[in-house]
C-alpha cells in the first residue's frame, strides 16, 4: 500500500517536472514586465506583437519551415524505397546498410555538423541552405525507416503479390496497394522527421549565418546574451507547433505508445 502511494507520488512529481518548464515559458510570454516573470505580472500580447514586427524572426521561422518540409519530403523519397529493398530483398551487406542508415541516431550531431561544415566548405557550399538540407536529411532518415519498416510485413507482402497476380503493373501495385497500407507509418515517420529537423540546433549551428538561420539557432544565439519576454513568445510559438504536430499525429494515426497493441 505504501509502495503504491510512493509510486503515485513519484510519478506525479515526475510529470510535473516534465511540464513545469514549458508552462513557465508560455506563462512568462504574457507578462507585462520588461523582464521574464513567472507567474506573469499583468497580461499582455505586446511581446508577440514585437516578434511579428521583427522580420528576422519571421525569416527564421520561414527558413526552419522550408528546411523541415523539403528535408522530410526528400527523406521520404529516399527512405521508402530503401525500406522496401531492406524488407523485401535479400542482398549481401543488408545488415550493414541498415545500421549505416540508422547510425545518425547515435552519432553525436556536433560531430556530423562539424564534418558537414568542413566537407561543404570544400565543395563551395559552406553555410548554404543546401549544406543545412543534406545534414537534416541524414539525421531524419532513421525516423522514416523506423516507422515504415515494421509495416512492411509478410501479410502486406501477400497482398502485393495478389495485386501482381491479378495483372497490376509494379507501379500500380505500389500506389494502389503498398502506399495505402503503409500510410500510418509514413505519416508518423514524416511527423517525427519534420519535428526533428524543425527543433535541431546541434547540426544546424555550423552551417547557419546571421542572415540565413533557423529559429532554434536564432534563439540559441539570442538566449546566450539576453533573455527577454520576446524570447518566451517565440518559444511559445514553437511549443504550439509541437503541440499541434502531436495532436495531428494522435488524431490521424494515433500515438500507439505505452499501450498493448496485440
Amino acid at each position: 500500500m505504501i509502495a503504491r502511494l510512493l509510486l503515485r507520488v513519484v510519478s506525479w512529481s515526475v510529470m510535473a517536472y516534465l511540464i513545469l518548464p514549458l508552462l513557465v515559458i508560455v506563462g512568462s510570454s504574457f507578462t507585462a514586465t520588461s523582464y521574464l516573470a513567472f507567474p506573469p505580472q499583468g497580461l499582455t500580447l505586446d511581446w508577440y506583437g514585437r516578434m511579428l514586427g521583427d522580420t528576422s524572426y519571421l525569416a527564421a521561422f520561414g527558413t526552419s519551415t522550408l528546411l523541415a518540409l523539403v528535408a522530410t519530403a526528400v527523406a521520404l523519397l529516399l527512405g521508402v524505397p530503401a525500406a522496401l529493398a531492406i524488407a523485401r530483398c535479400e542482398f549481401p551487406g543488408k545488415k550493414f546498410l541498415l545500421s549505416l542508415l540508422m547510425s545518425p541516431l547515435v552519432l553525436p550531431h556536433v560531430v556530423l555538423g562539424a564534418a558537414l561544415l568542413q566537407y561543404c566548405a570544400a565543395l563551395g557550399l559552406m553555410r548554404s541552405f543546401t549544406a543545412l538540407l543534406v545534414g537534416h536529411i541524414v539525421i531524419i532518415m532513421p525516423f522514416v525507416l523506423r516507422s515504415v519498416l515494421p509495416q512492411l510485413t509478410p501479410e502486406q507482402r501477400a497482398l502485393e503479390e495478389a495485386s501482381a497476380d491479378l495483372g497490376a503493373r509494379p507501379m500500380e501495385t505500389f500506389f494502389l496497394v503498398t502506399l495505402p497500407q503503409i500510410r500510418s507509418g509514413l505519416a508518423s515517420g514524416a511527423i517525427f522527421a519534420f519535428i526533428s529537423s524543425w527543433i535541431n540546433v546541434e547540426l544546424s549551428i555550423f552551417n547557419t549565418t546571421a542572415e540565413m538561420t533557423t529559429i532554434p539557432v536564432k534563439l540559441f544565439n539570442y538566449v546566450q546574451y539576453t533573455i527577454d519576454p520576446v524570447i518566451a513568445a517565440v518559444s511559445s510559438i514553437t511549443i504550439g507547433v509541437a503541440a499541434l504536430a502531436i495532436i495531428i499525429l494522435d488524431l490521424t494515426v494515433g500515438l500507439h505508445l505505452l499501450s498493448d497493441r496485440r
Binding site: 510519478s11 511540464i19 518548464p21 514549458l22 521574464l36 570544400a122 549551428i205 534563439l219 546566450q224 514553437t238
Partner: protein
Amino acid sequence: MSAAMNRALPLLAAPVAFFAAFFAVPMIVVVSSSLMAGGVPSLGNYARVLFDQYHWDVLAATFRIAGLTTVACALLGYPLAYYLVRVVKSPALRRTCVILLVLPLFTSNIVRSFGWMVLLGRNGLVNDALVGVGILDRPMRFLGTELGIVIGLVYILLPFIVLAVGNALAAVDPALEDASSDLGATPFDTFRTVTFPLCLPGLMSGIVMVFTLAVSAYVTPALLSGGKITVFPMLIFQQYSTVFDVNYGGALSMTLLVMTLVLVGLAGWIGNAGASATGRKAQ
C-alpha cells in the same frame, strides 16, 4: 540472389548514393584530416588530445554528467513508466499523459533549457520555493554547476526512458504476473523475478539512448553552464566555429565518437549478459 539484387538495386541506388556523399564521405574527410598535421600524415593531433590533462578533465566531467543524468533518468523514468502502464486504468488519462510526455520531445532543446534558465536562476521559482519552504537559508547557485546541467539534461532525456520502459512493459503479458502471484509470490517478488527481467531489454535500450544523447549534448550544457563548465562537444564546436583547426578538431571529434561507441557497446554487452543470466535463472 541475382534476381533479388536486380530488384534491390534501383530501390537502393539513390539512398545509398546520398548517404555515401553526405554522410560517409564527410566522416571519412574528418578522420583523414584528424590524421594530418602540417600537411603530412601524423598522429600529432591525437597526441595533443590524449596527452593533455585538460582534455581528460573535460572528458571526465562530460561522462560524469552523462552518467549521473542516465542514473537519474532511470530512477525517475522507471516508476513513471510502470505507473502509466500498470496502474493508470483510464485510457483517457493515459493518453493525456503520453501526449504530455511527447510534447517536450517535440520541443527544441533550446526552449526547454531556456525554461530551466528561468526556473533555476537566483530568483527563480526553484530557489524561491526552496527558501520559502525553509529547506535553504538563502538562494543556491544552480546555473554554472554540474547539478544545474544534470537537472536540465535529465529533463530533456527523461521521456526516452519512460517510452522505452513503458513500451517494454506494455508488451509483457499480465497473465505471467498473475501466475506468479497465484503461486504465492509477493508483489515485490513478482516484480523482481518476472516483470523486471522481462523489461530489462527496454530499460537497457533507453539507457543507451539517454547516455549517448547526454554525452553528445551541446546546447543544454552551453546554456546552463554559464561559461563555467566545459563539456567535450563544446571543445569540438570551438575548433570548428572559431579556430577552424580541422585537424585538431577532427581528432577531438573522433575521440568523442570512439569513446561514445565503446561505452555504448559495453552497455549493450552488459545488458545482454545480464538479460541472458536472468533468463537462465528463470528457466
